[in-house]
Amino acid sequence: MSSSDGHAANAHLAHHFDTIERQDYAVRLGMWLFLATEVLLFAGLFLGYTVYRHFYHEAFHEASRHLDLWAGATNTVVLITSSLSVALAYWAIKQDKQKLCAGLLVFTIACALVFLAIKAIEYHHKFEEGALPGAWYHYSEVTAPGANLYYTIYFLSTGLHAIHVIVGMSILIWVLARVLKGHFSSTYFVPVELGGLYWHLVDLVWIFLFPLLYLI
C-alpha cells in the first residue's frame, strides 16, 4: 500500500498523488471548477445582452431578423451532433475501441471546422454590410438606436464563443494524437473525458446564444 508501489504500477500517476483514484478526483474537480468560471464568463455577456435588449427592445428585434437564421440553425445542429460524437468517443475509449474513438474524434474536429466555416461566411456578410461593432457600424438597413449595441454584443459573444471552438478543437486534436499513439485505454481515459467536457461546454454556450441572437 505504500505510495511508491502505486507509482510503479501506474505511469499516469503523478508523484504528488497517493493513488490514481485521488488524482482522478482532483483532476475532475479542477475541470468542473474551470467550467464554472466559463459559465460565469459567458453569464456576464448574457447579462449585457439582456440589459440592452430591455432598453432597445425594438432595435434588437429588428437587428436579429438580419442574421441568417439557417446559418445559425445549421451551426446548432452541427454542434449538437459534434457533442454526440465526442460523447461516443468517450464511451468508445472506455470499451478499449481506440480506432472507433479516433474516428469519432476526427468527425468532431471536422464538425468544429464546419462550424467555423459557416461562422466565417456569416461574419463576411456582416463586414460587407457594415453591421460592425462599436464605432465601425455603418449598416443602413437597421438605424434604430441600440442596433449598434446589438451588433457589438453579437460580435463579442459569438467571437468569444468562436475562440472557444478553436481552443476546444485544438484540445481534441491533441487528444486524438494521443489516442492514435495508444496512450489511452479502458484503464486510463481521463484526458478524453475532460476534452469532451470542454467541448460540451462550447455546445452549451451556443444553445443559449442561438435563440437569444437569432430568434428573439
Binding site: 449538437i80 460540451h200 437569444l212
Partner: protein, 122 residues
Amino acid sequence: MAEITENRGPNAVHADAHAHGPGRYFVVWILLLIFTGTTVITGRMDLGDFNIVLALVIASVKAALVVLFFMHMTEAAGTNRLIFVVSVIFTIVMMTGVFGDLLTRNPMTLPTGNPPVQIQAE
C-alpha cells in the same frame, strides 16, 4: 475488472459510469434536434412576450440534457455537481440583482434617457 475499477473515482455514484451503452447518447441527440426544430419554428412566430419565455425554457431543457447526460452530471461526484449548480445560482443572482436595480430606477436615469414628459405621454 480490477483495472477498470482503478480508474473510478472514490465516489460510489461514479461506478455506474460504465454500466450503460451508447444508446442513451443517441436518444439525447434526437431530443436535442427535436428541441432545436421546435425553437426555430416557434422563434419566428409572433407570440408576444411568450417568445422569449418559450425560447429560454427550450434552451434550458436542451442545456440540462447536455449537462446531465453528455457531461455525465448524473454520475459526477457530489462536489462537482455542487460547483456547477453554484455557478448557475450565481448567474441567477447576478441577473436578479441587476434587473432589480434597472426595473426600479427613475426613468430619467436610464441609458435610454427618456425625459419625464415623454413618459407621461405613453
